[in-house]
């Protein structure tokens, strides 16, 4: 993403004052005003436009098909894309920075808002990283790990359904959009039932999950497991054999295996190049290695391959959910250490999760020590030993890695996220040269970027 044509003197701008004054002579600096800003005037200067035959067009940040606020500065020759410069930053939230000012546990509510279509994966990776720093990775109860795997796989299906819905809409298939969001609703209902929120759950906490699942959790997931395969079949009936859909996606957005390796591409995009790389197999977490599932691949390297892979991944995720549900162990869902486990007993209220009434009664009316403990842990949190870890998980979009550094205090020193969407946006210039405008839409859709994750 860094602009290689930046002026050679750019480094000097941040140097000492005297050097800066000489380097900042605007006449010596190359003209970079138009690098990322498309200014008006092309239209009136018609002779210029005719001479160079190229048109610069601004796709986004307000465009129906750029997955939120991605902006692409396209240089067009007719309808053929000569150059594509993605511009990001329109959804910058400062979440990474904010995390440095909050106790360790609080950051869960931040990171879940990054890649808002796969919130649980963000929570999972963050919690795994904190647990690793604390050295309690092996103490996390089995039930908590199993629940994490189960809910994450449900989340993966929901995320793929949104991809299918928005991708379908962008290629003009309005029904695919409605169907996708409809099926996703069933999953969000379950997540809401468990965590109290449809998105941005803050359900995983360092040390486990915030509370156990409700009594009828199993029945609801059972219903979903019987319904969902039929719904996925419906999608396949609508799109897989549809000649227009096949034609729009085949041979579009090609990334070869070598390009994928060079550019750090992961997830379904990498698997569409025939590489069976999945972190659930390569670096298993939360005991996911005990479940039986396949990693679908194709060697078409194009958008259609990514479509088939995502469809198959939904089926594989259902397989995992089935197995977790059958072998769900009992027991606690949080580490036993009272210095780490959130002190409150939580209960699901009408407006989400909150403190249980009995617990409030206890700390406010009966036990002063319990109140002090609660107060200290909630306001100050726990300290984490010095060190840094990198923990990747396989999010629906690829490798989602959390690089967390602790300076031994009650707050992270730095939380850096390797978000797959961000990496994939960087691939766009390579991917889109020579495509038509319509193909750009299909190519971007096949990468499935989520701008919340890109801008953080």
């Amino acid at each position: 993403m860094s602009d290689t044509r930046a002026p050679a003197t750019a480094g000097a701008i941040w140097g000492d004052e005297s050097e800066r004054r000489s380097a900042l002579d605007p006449r010596q600096l190359p003209d970079t005003r138009h690098e990322f800003t498309v200014v008006g005037g092309e239209w009136q200067n018609l002779p210029d436009a005719v001479d160079d035959d190229l048109m610069v067009i601004n796709m986004g940040p307000q465009h129906p098909s750029t997955h939120g606020v991605l902006r692409m500065v396209l240089t067009l020759d007719g309808e053929i894309v000569v150059d594509n410069r993605p511009v990001i930053g329109y959804l910058h939230t400062g979440i990474e920075k904010n995390a440095e000012y909050r106790p360790w546990t609080h950051s869960v509510t931040f990171v879940t808002r990054m890649d808002y279509l796969s919130p649980l994966f963000n929570e999972l990776a963050y919690c795994l990283a904190v647990e690793k720093l604390l050295g309690i990775s092996d103490d996390v109860p089995e039930r908590a790990s199993a629940l994490r795997v189960l809910l994450c796989e449900l989340n993966r299906i929901a995320s793929h359904l949104v991809w299918l819905a928005t991708g379908g809409l962008e290629l003009g298939s309005v029904s695919a959009m409605i169907y996708g969001f409809r099926e996703r609703e069933g999953i969000l209902d379950i997540l809401e039932h468990v965590t109290g929120l449809r998105m941005n759950h803050a359900y995983f906490r360092p040390g486990g999950v915030s509370q156990d699942v409700p009594m009828d959790f199993r029945e609801r997931v059972e219903v979903l497991l019987t319904e969902m395969p039929r719904r996925i079949d419906e999608f396949e009936a609508l799109l897989s054999e549809n000649p227009i859909w096949v034609e729009r996606n085949t041979g579009v957005g090609i990334l070869t295996r070598e390009q994928c390796f060079d550019l750090g591409v992961t997830g379904p995009v990498l698997r569409s190049a025939g590489v069976a790389h999945d972190l659930r197999k390569a670096a298993p977490y939360c005991g996911i290695e005990q479940y039986d599932f396949d990693v679908p691949t194709t060697d078409t390297c194009d958008a259609f391959g990514r479509y088939t892979i995502r469809i198959q991944e939904m089926r594989e995720s259902l397989k995992i959910v089935r197995q977790v549900l059958d072998t769900l162990p009992g027991g606690p869902v949080m580490v036993a250490d009272p210095k780490i486990a959130w002190p409150a007993q939580l209960a699901l209220g009408p407006d989400g999760i909150g403190n249980a009434k009995e617990y409030i009664g206890k700390i406010m009316g009966q036990s002063m020590e319990a109140l002090i403990h609660h107060f200290k842990l909630v306001t100050e949190g726990f300290t984490v030993p010095e060190g840094q870890v990198y923990v990747p998980v396989e999010s629906p979009r690829g490798e989602l890695g959390y690089h967390v550094t602790s300076s031994g205090t009650n707050k992270p020193y730095r939380v850096h996220v390797r978000d797959p969407s961000f990496i994939h946006i960087g691939v766009l210039p390579v991917m889109s040269r020579g495509l038509l405008i319509a193909d750009i839409i299909a190519a971007v859709a096949s990468l499935d970027p989520v701008m919340g994750g890109v801008d953080r």
Binding site: I57, L171, L270, A273, G274, V275, A282, A438, I441
Partner: protein, 419 residues
């Protein structure tokens, strides 16, 4: 001609206008309801019975909105373009017979606004002018997305007009007249048994060609590339708002109705159908038949929209020029040939010639695969992947030799993780 004649002409014109305008309003409502049903939604259901008044409310809202024109726009063209679209859709409808002929007193009334000799050529001519509405809208907006939409639409409409014109020409040759009323009259009665003599049966290929072209001409999905909201935001109508946008929006649906009406007139016998009952019923029935037939096509238009993704622009042109046009040319020639044959040759001779021709074709059909297989054997050593060009960047093709012996690299990323 006395004042009564004038009155009748005005009444017929007003009737056509009302049918067409009410049809447009109902179509917009119907499209939203039907697509909603297909997508398991509800659709507009608040205003009036079953949401029928929704279109009226939306239209009223649009007409009272602020009239905004971009600073770069060419003001007059920008203003005129939506009107061109709407007016063209309306005047095309004038030559469509939307009901039967009946007698009141000693006067014969035909439910058709205008029945010129050039008949359906008028439809083609107006269709060509209709291009201007969209091209000018795209060009005059002074903005890039509309320009792309406008350019797309001009290329698309001209391409498909060829196939459409040839499909219409086949019908003209078959009927021997351009006049809409003659074409309808030619479809009266039955072909054999209870099958009506509608052109859709003898002219089935022309019907298919015309229908596909009609979808492309009206820029409905899956050929809605000029407005392709997924790619060009709104295409030629991106910069339009308020009353002008309402005109463009209505014009699209008006065109759909007009095209369906032309389809019905040319291929489904127009207002033809079994007549029975007292005179008043006989007078009304043809209009009902006409409306029902048009309704069927409108439903198909909506159905297409709910089902199909959008075509890519170059594929659309390929379809128009490489598939539709040659096929239409062939069909026109075949039609002309058969018409000449019918008029000049004995029936028995034709049947004998056809039988010999069919026999030769059958023999060729069975023999051809033998020869083609033998011919392809020496060169086609590539097996299944042989069709892929050598410079294909995808792995799996033979252009990438490292593909087979590259197994270790699939494990490379796994070594990097788990720090």
């Amino acid at each position: 001609m006395d004042w009564l004649d004038v009155l009748i002409i005005v009444a017929v014109a007003v009737g056509a206008f009302a049918l067409w305008l009410v049809g447009t309003a109902l179509l917009i409502w119907g499209e939203r309801r039907v697509v909603a049903k297909m997508q398991s939604r509800v659709g507009p259901n608040r205003l009036g019975p079953a949401g029928l008044m929704q279109t009226l409310a939306d239209g009223a809202k649009l007409f009272f909105k602020e009239d905004i024109a971009p600073a770069n726009a060419d003001r007059w063209v920008y203003l005129a373009a939506p009107m061109v679209s709407a007016v063209v859709a309306l005047v095309t409808f004038a030559v469509i017979p939307y009901g039967g002929t009946f007698t009141i007193g000693d006067r014969q009334i035909s439910l058709q606004v205008w029945d010129p000799d050039v008949g359906l050529l008028w439809v083609l001519a107006m269709g060509s002018i209709g291009v201007y509405g969209i091209v000018l809208a795209g060009w005059s907006s002074g903005s890039k997305y509309p320009l792309l939409g406008g350019v797309r639409s001009s290329a698309q409409m001209i391409s498909y007009e060829l196939a459409m014109g040839l499909a219409v020409a086949a019908v003209f040759i078959y009927t021997g007249s351009l006049r809409a009323s003659d074409i309808v009259a030619n479809q009266a009665g039955t072909l054999f048994g209870p099958i009506p003599a509608w052109h859709v049966i003898p002219m089935a290929p022309a019907f298919v060609l015309f229908f596909i072209s009609a979808v492309a001409e009206t820029q409905r999905p899956p050929f809605d590339l000029p407005e392709a909201e997924g790619e060009l935001v709104g295409g030629f109508n991106t910069e339009y708002s308020g009353a002008k946008f309402a005109m463009i929006f209505l014009a699209e649906f008006m065109n759909v109705i007009t095209m369906s009406a032309v389809l019905v007139t040319m291929f489904l016998g127009g207002p033809n159908g079994p007549l029975f009952g007292p005179d008043i019923v006989r007078a009304v029935l043809p209009t009902i038949y006409f409306v029902v037939k048009v309704g069927i096509f409108l439903f198909v238009f909506i159905w297409l929209r709910a089902t199909l993704p959008r075509l890519r622009y170059d594929r659309l042109m390929d379809l128009g020029w490489k598939v539709m046009l040659p096929f239409a040319l062939l069909w026109v020639m075949a039609t002309g040939f058969s018409v000449v044959l019918r008029e000049t040759t004995e029936r028995a001779t034709v049947i004998r010639a056809a039988a010999i021709g069919a026999a030769v074709a059958a023999v060729l059909f069975f023999l051809a695969p033998l020869f083609s297989r033998r011919a392809s054997e020496p060169g086609g050593g590539g097996g299944d992947g042989g069709a892929r060009p050598l410079d294909d960047p995808r792995p799996g093709g033979e252009a990438l030799p490292e593909r087979a012996g590259d197994r270790p690299s699939t494990d490379r990323p796994t070594e990097e993780v788990g720090v």
